[in-house]
Assembly symmetry: C2
């Protein structure tokens, strides 16, 4: 990994990167990180990311099975059967649930079979009860024909032995775990759970759960960042508020870099503290700062760096700015170091909604607009939730956000926007 040169203007001043430039730079550095796997019991697998492809050790189902309650038959015996001209079959056996059938079905015969029962030798289809009439306890009338394979799930039809059951880098769902249970797999290889270290800085920040000293504000960011991280399925170490001395801040960042897989500190959006953030990242490991400042509102002063393979993010102090930087930079980073495939990240689902008021945006800057979403008979409506970047109550009211790209100078009312929905 090599630090990239900052973009400079004609006077030698550093220029802010666009959000997409910054993301591309970040993601290309992340591609160089190596991430580790571990083996866990299947039943702890929900939401974990598969660390290897998983192949089926056997056919599922293992045998041909009925998908209906009825009679296992030789399908040719039913051809042409109708209500006015039924076929007659002798009931020569019965398949019990959960047991291998005894005997063979021959022409002119049938076995009673329950849903899920194993198809007996000789039979190639099942006639549903509803298409038969019981003549006596040894004979049925078949009133509708069934083709070969009808009402049967064949051996290996769900999944064949040696076929891929689960691809690598997939977030495991309840259904994935069900499929693996169906194949008798008891342990799986997954990527290690990421741990996130969270540090809050700023002379003005005080613990939320104690009486507030004059002039201070309560620590909102640690609570928001911790829970946004939990939503990404990671473990969190909260290093609390570090505001006493510069050395204390530097050493806490260093400690977090050593103890966790990804470090977030917030606060320090003012010029002086912003410098401290740069210094902290530079001291904590190589290569240090990658990006400082992006063309983004809110969220401009974000700092992104790598210290000895650990991504470190300096987020703005304002809760909304910090949250937006989390969505744009931290969340995709967590996903990548958690083992999620790049193309899964870009495939975050959005909903189309009609913007219910016009929004201004400065050209050359990416704007994030938070909205509440309402479902109407005509589709979704997006109502901008306005609030200064420090307004946490606006975030609590929002259902998601849409992006106004750099070149766009605002959107008129009734534009269609693609809304990213908060979970």
């Amino acid at each position: 990994m090599t630090p990239t040169d900052p973009i400079k203007d004609m006077l030698g001043r550093e220029q802010l990167r666009s959000v997409s430039d910054a993301r591309n730079l970040l993601f290309s550095e992340l591609a160089n990180l190596s991430i580790q796997t571990e083996t866990i019991p299947l039943e702890h697998g929900l939401g974990r990311i598969s660390g290897s492809e998983i192949y089926s050790p056997e056919d599922l189902p293992r045998q041909n099975r009925s998908t209906m309650d009825g009679y296992a038959v030789v399908s040719a015996d039913t051809f042409g059967a109708t209500e006015s001209m039924p076929g007659y079959l002798e009931i020569s056996g019965e398949v019990k649930m959960g047991a291998n059938p005894h005997g063979t079905v021959t022409r002119g015969q049938c076995f009673k079979i329950p849903t899920g029962g194993i198809l007996p030798e000789g039979a190639d289809a099942v006639v549903m009860f509803e298409h038969t009439v019981l003549v006596d306890d040894k004979m049925i009338e078949v009133v509708k024909s069934v083709g070969s394979g009808g009402n049967v799930i064949k051996k290996g039809e769900d999944i064949k032995k040696s076929a891929q059951a689960i691809p690598k880098n997939k977030k495991l769902s309840a259904y994935d775990l069900g499929l693996l249970a169906g194949l008798g797999i008891v342990e799986i290889e997954v990527y290690k759970k990421v741990s996130v270290g969270i540090i809050s800085t700023g002379d003005e920040v005080a613990p939320y759960d104690q009486p507030l000293p004059p002039g201070k504000i309560r620590n909102i960011n640690s609570m928001v960042l911790r829970n946004l991280s939990y939503d990404c399925g990671v473990d969190v170490i909260d290093y609390g508020i570090v505001a006493d001395t510069e050395e204390m801040f530097f050493s806490t960042v260093q400690k977090a870099v050593e103890e966790t897989d990804l470090v977030l500190f917030s606060g320090g959006s003012s010029v002086g503290v912003s410098d401290l953030g740069e210094q902290a990242i530079a001291r904590a490991g190589d290569p240090g700062v990658l990006i400082h400042g992006v063309k983004l509102k809110p969220g401009k002063p974000v700092i992104i760096g790598f210290c000895n393979q650990v991504p470190v993010f300096g987020l703005p102090g304002h809760p909304v700015s910090a949250a937006i930087c989390f969505d744009l930079f931290v969340k995709p980073t967590i996903q990548r170091i958690s083992g999620k495939l790049a193309d899964h990240i870009n495939r975050e689902l959005t909903i189309s909604a009609i913007l219910k008021r016009s929004i201004n945006s400065a050209a050359g800057r990416l704007d994030i607009v938070r909205v509440s979403v309402e479902q109407t008979d005509e589709g979704y409506e997006a109502h901008p939730v306005l609030g200064k970047s420090g307004s946490i109550s606006s975030l609590a009211k929002a259902d998601g956000f849409f992006i106004i790209e750099e070149p766009i100078q605002g959107l008129p009312e009734n534009s269609t926007v693609e809304v990213f929905i908060y979970k």
Copy 2:
């Protein structure tokens, strides 16, 4: 709660209910259940449902604060200021972060102030550094005017004392918890976490983690239902596979009704075992069975009942059928007894997608079609994932499903469908 009469046809046979009838009947019974709240620490609140409205105990912010690095001014002093005709102000003080300011700003004066700093007495706005030129350490030029309140977040502007911070019945997000931390709230009232009891039945069902006896199939449903339940944020008690005797099954359902808030058993889609499910619910408590069978494919044989205020669901044995009944009936039930508002449930977000092949559907029956979703430049495409109802691998591949309502007889290729996305 009174059991409703079954719908019967002219010959006195019971008719299947439509899915929407069944859901409406279920939801109206659920409205009668009383659900309890508990008090928990704020930091354990993520994903919990608020059990009461929460009002702000104080103004946020508590004082007027600067949203920029700059100078606190009397805004009238800046009116008309331009680069060619700047206003001159004396720097008469400085606001420190996290401390109450000392002194008052009078006409012709200003205080240096950082982002987040408390606005000093006398000042009503902040001029950004970028709109000033430092003449010497006691004087600035202001080159752009600022209106009253400019670059200031006012006391109570985020949220006012006594205003509602969080409504009742809201699923608490990271942002909600951040808002409450900002208000110094350390404990919250939330609905109690629901516990779900899961029972698997069927002579053919064997534990997934042991060698498979001949004729048996592995227990997929317990794994799927447990993890779908976890996705709904509940606790789970797994009662394992109960297949030895009828009495064992009845007593296990009874035990689960006594020990948990909602009971699921699966298996027993064949006629005989289906009767057992009805009997188990009838024995376990009043009023007993509410619904048996719905016009749904797959998922027809679902049984829904209430035993002493505990909803009990008999789900089909086929994993896909069981999963679909979970989505349509169990998940909204869990949400309601977890305290989520009815109208939040109906507001599940869907995405519009273009159906990429035609689908047949019998009129009078609701069909659930599982799809994988692809994002293209033209929007989302929905590709049906076909598979018999016993095919768990089809579920593992699907991203979500859409519904073909009862009266519709199928959809042509390129129809627009609303897809419910699996998380």
